[in-house]
């Protein structure tokens, strides 16, 4: 048998220099097979066994693994091998055109890929749909507010402060005005709180500035109650584009720094930060309560100043810890100097559900559960517990100054009759009353703390009114002209209590009272229709208080201090798709009084300020660091940022749906369409439509539809207030494509054209020889690499 590959061996007389020997080293099909097998192994490990590339020693993303030098070397050797073997073993003849084309194609593809991946920039950016421009006489420059439900800002004009908040948005607000029937517009409701006067809502319609209207809460359109469309004609709110000028690079890290008061972030890229494994040098830095030990691996990564000088100047910052998935946790720790008893307990109900609660004895706002069922107190001694006034029944104390009558009414299921019950006359007077409802421990957000109230309807000879009787007499109010329902908005007026009859309300204690004392914890149970009981509680023990209710004290601290530490989330509770969204670093900076270290939580984007925080989507979490000059810097942890060649504005965003529209599931969505304008030469271009699978290129970058803003329960409005774009370049993609096309054409030639050529040649030869039987292979056929003809 003749080895087909050796047919065109070099003449034996040729000189064998070192270059020649090197070339001969690559002149081997077996070497190619070995290199291909190694590539197979390398690819398999990187892809199927990601733990390998995620090892603490490697910390590589898929992209990094496939651009690691061993891979590059393998591919380079493979290409050299292909080139040498092709040149030296496969004669450039018509029959071999296929192999030559395939090999040329593969080498072209590889070169294209080096160009492509070597210059690849890939990132993403949200583009907000609109922002509200706020203009008022006396403002130095107009204010702005990005349109995201919940976003708010305040504007100071002279001595006055105006507050603006985006209340809700609607993408399909039907316009009812004559001449525009059937049209819809993007509507934005802005809640305006003026320094004086009542708050109102201004509705802005995108594209229809003539239809701006104000709405007064509880009264409806301003034109109905005030006779004019706008409450305040001086305040001008308008909608305009909210251009995006930067994007963030995928899988990168950076710090963003500015002095407090500045508006522009300055970027400091972080190189070499791990991604997959926690780096933490000390257990004290985190709260960690799992059985397996926390592996300690420390880092001390210096973050040198970026290209633009920032507030820290030349001072390097140091990253001393990295957590892949953690959240900041507020925890109680014993060891404070002051008495501050805190209890954590869980209650298990009959149907198996269990909930955890926390109460603080000396904090009036947090010493009772919302519904008042459980209360936590402190007693200096056991004797003090015995003396504690514990009465489960609330009392309503009534006095009539005119007759000097005074009596107590127990407030319980029998006396709280509601709006359908009978009035009880107050003896000796023309008055009668009925108790409507009781609310204990209402938290008043403004200032007065906690208040317990009884709503009492009082009938007098000249009409009836509802009185809110509070446990603090100064808060008791009468509501006249009232429908009686405290929740119904109405134009009732609240005023001082009618002095002809005075009332005080004393709430009852909770049926369950935990009392901490220096020697331990006691639980007192006292409830209507049940035997009072006392339990001495031990932390960790479950006690059945009554059928269907068990309590367990999880922790009891008497001198509790609060501390904030990251809590590492156990693997099982991590959202698989969260990636680094919940990662954080510990950043250390030098200050005049020594180093300051703080935990920084990751932000997907370095948003300019808190107005851009959008729950569940965009975070804005930064920390403050003191600077040597006495000022304070803000630092935010996010990804590297690049300028866009052309700022982008979102004209509108549309959802194309299947049958039945969007019903909360992506299976109903056919396409997402963003219409974008680019700022080119100071002018906005005509809208470019991009949708899934239909990107658009502009100014050297390609823009892809990536994410969207779905309507969410709880969020005000229909969502779709921004679009998420993928942004990237694609140098060399046509070289890659050309290489691929070459190799496909080559394969077709080699597999299907070449045998035909060969067969014809065989037939011709047979005809020439004039004899039947098998055709002998001739020189022309031997020596073709894919044709190792054995005879």
């Amino acid at each position: 048998m003749q080895d087909g590959n050796g047919a065109r061996a070099v003449p034996p007389t040729a000189s064998h220099g070192p270059l020649h020997r090197l070339i001969e080293l690559f002149n081997s099909v077996w070497l190619g097979i070995i290199l291909a097998s190694l590539l197979f192994l390398f690819c398999s490990i990187g892809s199927a066994v990601p733990m390998v590339r995620q090892l603490p020693a490697l910390e590589m993303t898929e992209f990094e693994w496939f651009h690691w030098w061993p891979f590059d070397v393998l591919v380079a050797l493979f290409c050299v091998n292909i080139v040498v073997v092709t040149l030296r073993r496969i004669p450039l003849r018509w029959v071999n055109a296929g192999v030559w084309t395939i090999h040329t194609g593969i080498v072209t593809l590889t070169l294209g890929s080096y160009l492509y991946f070597g210059t690849k920039v890939e990132g993403d950016a949200p583009v907000f749909r609109r922002q509200v421009t706020i203009e008022m006489p006396g403002m130095a420059e107009p204010g702005s507010l990005v349109v995201l439900p919940g976003s708010e800002t305040s504007v100071v004009v002279g001595p006055d402060e105006w507050r603006f908040a985006i209340q809700s948005t609607n993408t399909d607000w039907p316009i009812l005005s004559a001449g525009h029937e059937g049209e819809t517009a993007y509507s934005v409701n802005v809640a305006v709180t003026p320094p004086v006067g009542e708050p109102f809502i201004r509705q802005l319609l995108d594209g229809y500035p003539q239809f701006i209207e104000d709405i007064l809460p509880g009264k409806g359109r301003a034109i109905k109650s005030l006779g004019r469309k706008l409450v305040n004609e001086d305040l001008k709110l308008s909608l305009g584009y909210a251009p995006t000028t930067t994007f963030h690079v995928m899988k990168s890290w950076a710090l963003f720094i500015r002095r407090v008061g500045e508006t522009e972030w300055v970027e400091r890229p972080i190189a070499g930060l791990p991604r997959y494994n926690d780096r933490i040098g000390s257990r004290d830095l985190v709260s960690y309560n799992r059985d397996e030990p926390l592996p300690l691996r420390s880092i001390d990564l210096t973050v040198p100043p970026g290209p633009t000088p920032d507030a820290f100047g030349d001072t390097p910052l140091r990253v001393t810890s990295y957590l892949r998935y953690a959240h900041m946790e507020r925890r109680w720790r014993d060891g404070g100097s002051q008495l501050n008893p805190v209890i954590q307990f869980s209650a298990q109900s009959g149907n198996g559900t269990s909930r955890q609660y926390e109460l603080i004895a000396l904090d009036r706002e947090h010493n009772r559960l919302e519904g008042g069922e459980v209360e936590f107190r402190w007693a200096d001694s056991l004797a003090a517990i015995e003396a504690m006034p514990i009465s489960p029944t609330a009392m309503l104390h009534v006095e009539v100054p005119a007759t000097k009558a005074s009596f107590d009414v127990p407030v319980d299921g029998k006396t709280v009759v509601g709006r359908t019950g009978d009035f009880t006359p107050i003896e000796g007077t023309d008055f009668s009353y009925r108790i409507l409802l009781v609310q204990d421990n209402l938290v008043i957000p403004s200032s007065s703390g906690v208040v317990s109230v009884a709503m009492v309807e009082i009938k007098t000879p000249d009409g009836s009114f509802t009185r809110m009787v509070a446990d603090k007499p100064e808060m008791t109010r009468d509501m006249k002209g009232d429908s009686g329902d405290p929740h119904a908005p109405s134009d009732r007026t609240a005023g001082a209590a009618d002095p002809r009859v005075t009332m005080t309300y004393t709430p009852g204690s909770s049926p369950l009272v935990f009392v901490a004392h220096p020697a331990g914890l006691r639980l007192l149970f006292k409830s209507e229709g049940a035997e009072p009981a006392t339990f001495d509680m031990v932390v960790g023990q479950t006690v059945q208080v009554m059928p269907g209710l068990s309590l367990r004290v999880d922790s009891l601290l008497t001198r509790a201090l609060v501390e904030h530490k990251p809590s590492i989330v156990p693997d099982a509770q991590r959202r698989p798709d969260a990636r680094v969204a919940f990662s954080m670093i510990r950043l250390e900076a030098d200050s005049p009084s020594g180093p300051v270290a703080k935990w920084l939580q990751f932000n997907q984007y370095a948003m300019p300020d808190a107005r851009f925080a959008y729950p569940g989507r965009f975070t804005y979490q930064r920390e403050h660091f003191p600077l040597p000059d006495g000022t304070v810097a803000e630092v935010l942890f996010s990804r590297e940022r690049r300028e866009l060649p052309n700022p982008i504005a979102l004209e509108d965003f549309e959802l194309d749906t299947h049958h039945g529209g969007y019903m909360g599931s992506v299976s109903g969505i056919r396409n997402y369409v963003s219409r974008l304008r680019f700022l080119d030469d100071g002018k906005w271009t005509e809208p470019n439509e991009i949708s899934v699978n239909a990107p658009t290129g502009f100014g050297g970058y390609w823009y892809f539809q990536s994410t969207w803003d779905p309507p969410r329960s709880g969020a005000a409005g229909t969502g779709m207030n921004f679009t998420g774009l993928g942004i990237g370049n694609r140098n060399g993609v046509y070289v890659q494509l050309f290489g691929c096309c070459l190799s496909v054409a080559g394969m077709i030639f080699a597999f299907y054209v070449k045998p035909v050529i060969k067969r014809r040649r065989q037939e011709r030869q047979c005809a020439k020889i004039g004899a039947g039987g098998e055709a002998e292979s001739d020189d022309a056929m031997a020596g073709t690499a894919t044709e190792p003809v054995s005879v």
Binding site: A48, S113, I669
Partner: protein, 659 residues
Amino acid sequence: MNGKIRIRLIDVMVLLAIAGGVGYGMVMRPPSTESPSSAFMSEVDLTPLYATAVQADGRLRSFESHAKTYMGYIAGPRVVNGQSHGYSYLDLLFRPEAYTDTDIIFVKNKLVLGRILNVLEEDPRLDAGRLAAIRKSRLIAPSLLNEPEVKALLNVLGRDLIRTSKPVDMINSALFVSQPQFLGENLKLVAPDDATPETQWVSVMHIESMGGAPQDAAHAGMSGGSIPGVSTELQGNLAKAWSGLRNAWRSQDAATVNTHATTVAQLVRSSAAELYPSQSRLSMESWYFRYKGMTWVWLVYLASALPLLMAVIYKWKGARRLGIGLFVFAFLLQSASVGIRWYISGRWPNANMFEAVTTAAWFGGVGALLIEWFARKTPFRNVFALGSAVMSMIALMAAYYLPVYLDSSISNKMAALNDIWLYIHTNVIIWSYAVIGLACVPALLLLRQRWCLSWDNGSIPKWRLLILPIAIVALNYTAYAILMHFIAREKYGLQGYALYANVSALWASLIFVSLEGFAAAARTRAGVRPERSASGGASALMSSAPTSSRFLQPERPTTGQVFDGATMVLVEVAFIMLWAGTVMGAIWADHSWGRPWGWDPKEVFALNTFIIFLILLHVRLKVRDKAFHTAILAVVGFQVMLFNWIAVNFVITGLHSYA
């Protein structure tokens, strides 16, 4: 060499292993539940409802199709009491009380089911028989799941996001879906008058609860009022018919049920006529789902594979005629099933795993028939049909027996999948997968033939020949088990002895197989002359095809050469299609994701499969016994492809997990 092939020990071993595996699967399959089929059930005729459309999941689907999807959420792949899905749906809707203590909720995860049953150990309702039935069918009654202890357990398990939260979510959603309120609200049968495709349809439950619309002013405000877009007349009639249906169903009056069902079907068709799907489409959809998506065609493929095997081995003309006839018949049936699916879903069926597998099998059939036509006068005939019959049979069996993994419900394509390049890409790729599968069949036949030759000529001790196939299977199995242990320890982790046993078996089999490999190489070097192989598949076909030249006679290839040539024909096709398909995928990815290649596991393993075939082609250039090495590498390539399709899809999450 020719004609010497007969049923050998190895065939018996392989057949026994397959029979054992399939038999085990059959025995362990849950019984299709004993049906306490009442007279009512057999008399109820839901045919009119089968031709009504329900708006759900962004589609207008037939009632039976809708019921199948929803019952799938509840009972998984199981059939409740041997009832049709439509019947079960209405029974759950009208007589929910009959099901509170019936085992209808499917618990897919065995671990979760085990924990639930542990908690319920003391429950008096669970006697040994019922416990065994639950373990087997994995169906459990809602009343048992609503026990406080079980609720508490599910609460705890739901917090483990990696292992058990998904199964617990599935149980909770099954409980939720099985509520009559939910079933009723989602039975959106009525299109409003001026409906556009985006308009939401109205559920019959809504219409029933609103009652007849007020016909006169005196009653206005008493009943529920009118529903926008639904004429008062229709609303009234439908409410009447539906409550009639409900009452008749509750009193188990089949005749009245049938009357009302007909009325309801007529009424719902009367609105939005131009939007309403045709009656034939809906009936066909219902028919398709009542007959398991025609996956039973695997039996016809099985019937064709046997005579085709005989035709390949014994070269019997009669076997060829019968085999090819049956194969064509099976292929036509499968074409019909693909066509029906295309017709009822309104798009080419290649959007989920079920469709990918069955359509790939169909593509394999198309390819095999084409090549069979070209090779009809060569000794290679029948091999391609045989390969296709075996692969289609396996694919359809998988769809038939593993409905949990291959869900046949029709859904809309995800937005990202609406693209012409992607369309071509996925179809070319699954076609290449099918051809890789096909190539594996002659490769295995060649390996079997080599084994038999060694057995006959006694060149290798027989005990070694007996151990060899076992060692190869063990090597495959243990390597896979250990790989999965590392890839997805949470789910497929081996514990304790299992790990040690697998590792030892892996090493033992690896050592044995490599020793055999070295011995074989030594024998080849020592002068055992392998068969001459053609340089490629097309050359092999051509050199044995009749030629117009008077001087060149077609060669009579040996059986080994036939298998080798057939493998190469298929490998070459697969090679080009896999490469071209991957390139098309890159073109799509470039404009969909912004990068042609993202080193995603699915992409990398497509490249890996390609590398294996690339190695195959070049190893063929360099070794003497080309046929043998080609066969080995063709099987390896098939395994890498399967790993890409199954393990990467189901275990290693990637961007491609939807296809």
